[in-house]
């Protein structure tokens, strides 16, 4: 290719990037305006919950999707975040947000305890360790009165200052969550284009071959887990602030872990927007079925979730993103 040709491609690349950035900013602006389009408080709340679920699932996606290390006990980080926030309030009268950094720190410690030994073993051990860790912490919390025991913890009933982030309307939460999600997705995007992103995909694809190319496999899996754990913990803290309550099951329960996994896997684990897509589909659906059939107590929701997870694993492990890709490829073939 001639020098002039190269320059043209480069500038076309810059153009393309410019258009993409503009597009993203527009979508972001539209998303920010959404709460004004939704009149119903109920709908606004669902929108906020969709974003919150997207944050958790996108955080899970870092280790489960990009790195291919399947955590099914991610609630351990979520619960730590939620509990840290509300403990800060119940023990020291801090605004819940102050507990969030502490939650992140504790989550990073947990991530180290879980990941370091298991990343040098075959993949299943990590998955098993995550369930064991989540259950272990849940049982400890249930039996520990200081952190609320089986009853759980509550946040400030009446906001003492703006710092408490305790709003009556879901709208401010929606915007906070939108901001956090945007940051997380931007970080994920940058990561995926960097050496870390390439290395993680190599590890996920052919770990042995990656090693032979000099990839420090264990180290990168660990980095991915640290990032994932930190953001999951933050999601837990945000949840605690919006809902104002957490107990062992809503913090550390297996269903919390399941929701993260299914939302990410349904949309497409390992893709940037897969978890968001999954959240947009599943969260309203779950709210609707809860309203229609009266609570998840009967367990039908989770039978369905289980089936969906099995179907995804059997027919389209890449989720909707994979199905979309296959349809496009089929379309191109027939064109």
């Amino acid at each position: 290719m001639s020098g002039g040709g190269m320059a043209m491609t480069a500038s076309r690349g810059a153009w393309g990037r410019g258009v993409a950035v503009l597009g993203v900013l527009m979508v972001l602006a539209l998303a920010a305006l959404l709460p004004f389009a939704l009149q119903d408080v109920f709908q606004q709340r669902i929108a906020a919950l969709v974003l919150l679920a997207a944050i958790s699932a996108s955080a899970w996606n870092l280790i489960g999707g990009y790195a291919g290390q399947v955590s099914i006990g991610h609630a351990v980080f979520f619960g730590v975040g939620a509990y840290s926030s509300l403990l800060g309030y119940t023990l020291f009268e801090w605004p819940p947000i102050a507990g969030a950094p502490i939650g992140i720190l504790i989550s990073l410690v947990f991530a180290t305890l879980i990941g370091l030994p298991t990343f040098r073993l075959r993949g299943h051990y990590f998955s098993m360790a995550t369930i064991a860790a989540a259950e272990l912490v849940r049982i400890l919390v249930v039996n520990w009165p200081l952190v609320g025991g089986a009853v759980g913890l509550m946040g400030p009933a009446v906001p003492r200052s703006a710092l408490d982030l305790s709003f009556t309307s879901p709208r401010p939460y929606y915007w906070i969550f939108l901001g956090v999600l945007a940051v997380l997705l931007l970080l994920t995007y940058q990561m995926s284009r960097s050496r870390m992103g390439f290395y993680l995909r190599a590890i996920k694809g052919q770990e042995r071959a990656a090693r032979g190319l000099g990839v420090p496999v264990q180290r990168y899996k660990y980095y991915a887990l640290l990032l994932s754990a930190g953001f999951t913990s933050l999601a837990g803290s945000l949840y605690a602030m919006m809902v104002g309550f957490v107990d062992p099951d809503s913090g550390f329960g297996i269903l919390i872990s399941v929701r993260m996994v299914i939302i990410a896997a349904l949309g497409g684990a390992g893709t940037l927007f897969g978890p968001l897509a999954g959240a947009i589909i599943l969260v309203p659906l779950e709210e609707w079925t809860n309203a229609a059939f009266g609570g998840g107590g009967t367990g039908i929701t989770y039978v369905v979730y289980g089936f969906v997870i099995m179907l995804i694993s059997r027919f389209a492990p890449g989720g909707l993103a994979e199905i979309w890709r296959r349809l496009r490829a089929a379309g191109r073939r027939h064109a």
Binding site: V70, T118, M310, S313
Partner: protein
């Protein structure tokens, strides 16, 4: 004599743990698939036992084999319809497949049977006997001894029979096994059947002395993981030793730190084992 009583009870329960964990280690060792639904298999077997005992009036001699057969079929079915297709694929698919199955089984049971704990009729196995200061509950003794025998039987099946060597050949090297004329697919289906049958027998036996509820599977699968990890991946003798050990540890923990925390001890042991001795007590890494 409390210590001796705890150890005895621990060994008896531990034998049952060893039994269903052997099923898990067989499957895992053979085709590198971890059955996250393993605990829920046991749970289903317990319900089979419950219904056979309460609706049909059967005793353990009848419902344990029934549970074994039912679970054997389930295991083969799960392999043929699900596992076979995800085995060679990405890790995400493998883990999600049996994890999704676990959810389906657990919550279907919750929906069908409600969360209430139920238990089998009291007098199936006779009176409690006291020998040498030790309280021998016939249900636990029967369960423990039966579990021990079946686990040993499984080990003998794998190491002393032609069928067993075919199974182990596929586990060792699928391609080589194919080259000597062993078809891996039926062997793997059989392994799933046998592994599930172990849960069937174990479930039928546990139901004799433990409550039956849909939530039982969640903690049992973790116990199986601990046992398999400590015993060494793929090793039935390892699972036996580790199972007995975990049973005793659990019994002692229940006594010393209370029933609420006994699970915590076991899970902490698991995580500790991953740190310090991932290759297990007896097996290969």
């Amino acid at each position: 004599m409390i210590l001796a009583q705890l150890v005895l009870n621990g060994l008896l329960v531990g034998a049952v743990y060893a039994l269903f964990s052997s099923g898990l280690t067989l499957i895992w060792g053979m085709m590198n698939v971890v059955n996250f639904a393993h605990g829920d298999f046991v749970m289903l077997a317990m319900y089979v036992a419950f219904f056979a005992a309460t609706l049909l009036g059967w005793g353990p001699a009848a419902f344990v084999p029934l549970a074994a057969m039912a679970l054997f079929l389930l295991g083969v079915l799960v392999y043929l319809m699900l596992v076979r297709h995800v085995m060679r694929g990405p890790m995400l698919a493998q883990i999600l497949s049996t994890f999704g199955l676990a959810l389906v089984l657990r919550y279907a049971a919750l929906w069908a049977f409600s969360a209430n704990f139920v238990s089998l009729p009291e007098d199936l196995t006779g009176e409690v006997v006291t020998r040498g200061g030790l309280r021998l509950e016939p249900s636990r003794v029967l369960a423990g001894i039966a579990a021990l025998l079946v686990t040993l039987g499984l080990h003998l099946l794998l190491t002393r029979t032609a069928l067993g060597s075919r199974l182990l050949a596929v586990a060792e090297d699928r391609t080589a096994a194919m080259l000597v004329g062993i078809r891996p697919d039926p062997m793997q289906a059989l392994a799933w059947g046998i592994g599930a049958a172990c849960t069937g027998i174990a479930g039928g036996l546990i139901a004799l002395f433990f409550y039956v509820a849909p939530s039982v599977g969640e903690s049992l699968v973790l116990i199986a993981f601990v046992v398999v990890c400590l015993g060494g991946f793929g090793s039935v003798p390892g699972a036996l030793v580790a199972g007995l050990a975990i049973g005793v540890i659990e019994a002692l923990s229940a006594f010393w730190v209370g029933a609420a925390f006994k699970d915590v001890v076991v899970y902490a042991l698991f995580l500790g084992a991953l740190w310090f001795r991932p290759q297990g007590l007896l097996g290969k890494a």
